[in-house]
Symmetry: C2
Subunit: 324 residues, 2 copies
């Protein structure tokens, strides 16, 4: 059973009790506690999501918070607090590493006026950090789900893509020939992703009908948004905004830059389905680029990547898992 199959199995037999407006299956759950609470959880495990040799403790703490705030951003809601579970290997608490780890957690939380409200610290044979982020809707702005897209909606992404994947490739192969400042920027994109909280709010307030964050690669995540909306996400390769330096890394790897940008994971930019008439209004309130990369269309739910001639571009893997 794959992890996704297990999640679907858990979801299928989960009872939704009073107080739950939205359960398993979106970027976050929505609870009714008088006001609405929006809740999400991600766990990062040493050797699976990071290696201690390439990801320092401050980066790890900040990233574990950032990826959860990114899930709240993908609902267009305001982050309020995080609770953090830390499993620390022997010796970790006696070193400066635990201090740096907790510093990274607090720094990322503080940058978004989010409280570290509690959690648990325990021994563990490997370093584990699980973060639960809790938010609330901005006044007058309903949380945006993955499932609200309609045929004809433009698929838009914030920022530029592929930087994190290129940064990871550089960490894996430090000898790759690339300019030092570009290398630093790409490694930073991988180790210190920024949650798009303000952009999520602007997109939700501006009329985005469906939204999610890009954790596993544009093509794979677009397929998820497409399936949730019952539509096909058509992505145009030549419109994908490629982060600076990705071209050089892709060339060194013998890969195509646009495909690397369309399938690389962990950019934590936002993907939104926007009615064409709302695009200009949203762009006017955003502090970063919003690029139209395709459209939602009728057809088999999922996603495909097309070239300028309208032909499907074959990719070896659409992203970090294989469940498209």
């Amino acid at each position: 059973m794959s992890e996704l199959a297990l999640i679907e199995r858990i979801a299928s037999r989960t009872a939704l009790h009073p107080g739950t407006a939205l359960g398993i299956g979106d970027d976050a759950a929505v609870l009714d506690l008088g006001g609405s609470a929006v809740v999400t959880h991600d766990m990062m495990v040493e050797g699976v999501h990071f290696r201690r040799e390439t990801c320092g403790p401050a980066e790890l703490g900040a990233k574990a918070v950032a990826v959860n705030l990114s899930d709240l951003a993908a609902m267009g809601v305001e982050p309020v607090a995080v609770v953090v579970g830390l499993g620390l290997p022997a010796g970790y608490t006696d070193s400066g590493m635990a201090d740096a780890l907790s510093g990274g957690i607090e720094d990322m939380a503080r940058a978004h006026a989010v409280t570290v409200a509690g959690g648990d610290v325990t021994a563990s044979p490997v370093l584990v950090i699980g973060v639960t982020a809790i938010g609330r809707p901005y006044e007058g702005v309903a949380p945006v789900r993955r499932s609200g897209g309609r045929a004809g909606d433009l698929l838009c992404v914030t920022g530029r893509l592929g930087g994190s994947a290129a940064g990871l490739a550089l960490l894996d192969d430090p000898l790759s020939p690339i300019d030092a400042s570009l290398r630093d920027a790409l490694v930073e994109a991988h180790l210190r992703p920024l949650p798009r909280v303000a952009a999520g709010r602007a997109l939700a307030a501006g009329g985005a009908r469906a939204m999610m964050d890009l954790s596993d690669g544009l093509l794979l995540d677009a397929a998820r948004l497409g399936r949730a909306s019952g539509l096909r996400a058509r992505i145009e390769r030549d419109r994908v905004p490629v982060a600076e330096g990705v071209g050089a890394v892709a060339a060194a790897l013998g890969r195509e830059a646009a495909v690397m940008a369309a399938t690389g994971g962990e950019d934590y930019e936002l993907l939104a389905a926007v009615p064409p008439g709302r695009l200009a209004g949203i762009r006017a309130t955003l502090d970063l680029p919003l690029t139209v990369v395709g459209m939602l269309v009728e057809g088999e739910p999922g996603a495909d990547l097309r070239d300028a001639a309208g032909e499907t571009v074959h990719v070896d893997s659409p992203g970090w898992t294989h469940d498209v």
Copy 2:
């Protein structure tokens, strides 16, 4: 740095942003999301909190949820939802174990009308389960903190103590001479603790001034409640309600039953500081025994265990950690 020291260090530099009514340091945090949200998190790691040989997957899933619901019970609030992070070793998702694990999670949640609202499933070299529980105050009942006790309050515990520690001892040494039905009950107490949700509500509504759940042993936890309230928790050894069968296990181990009950961990009963005038009223609304085990008094904040003559009883360890 101990785990507790690390938590205190994290707490000391944590900023409390708007929306947070109560941060690190109690059984759960309290957020203001329109209504109040009460949030807690506990992480269980294989080899640290359980062994796969003695704790089956269904028991593990149920217990991980139960210990978090117990933290909400200790605030006297209503549990609404849990989100769950699962780190699963290779092969686990392909076996029936993941199914049993998720079944145990859902069963415990369903028993308390709690929704499994989301979470994360990932690979991990060891089995890890982190649960975040989210609740809301019952109407007209404020969350009860550890710090509200006053001198003269009676210290009361629900149920009977020591069963979980005795059950763990039996799992560690299956040859211990004890009646089979008693053995089963004690092992069950260890593997399948029940969160005292209804009792927590009754205690909070009935006027308990301070409360917490007993996870690390009465003496150690009473010291925490005492310190939070700035008072000394005086526990009388001969009043401690000892669970059935603990006497036989204690005898086999060469230990005193009452001391085993006063220092054994993971009973997940509730400890409350109750004004004497409120005791009868609370008992009338409880569906399980409530035993007076001592009193909060002026003195050095902490706890001690006394015999019938008023002499301090020396214990090798007051509970599961050494931070009294």
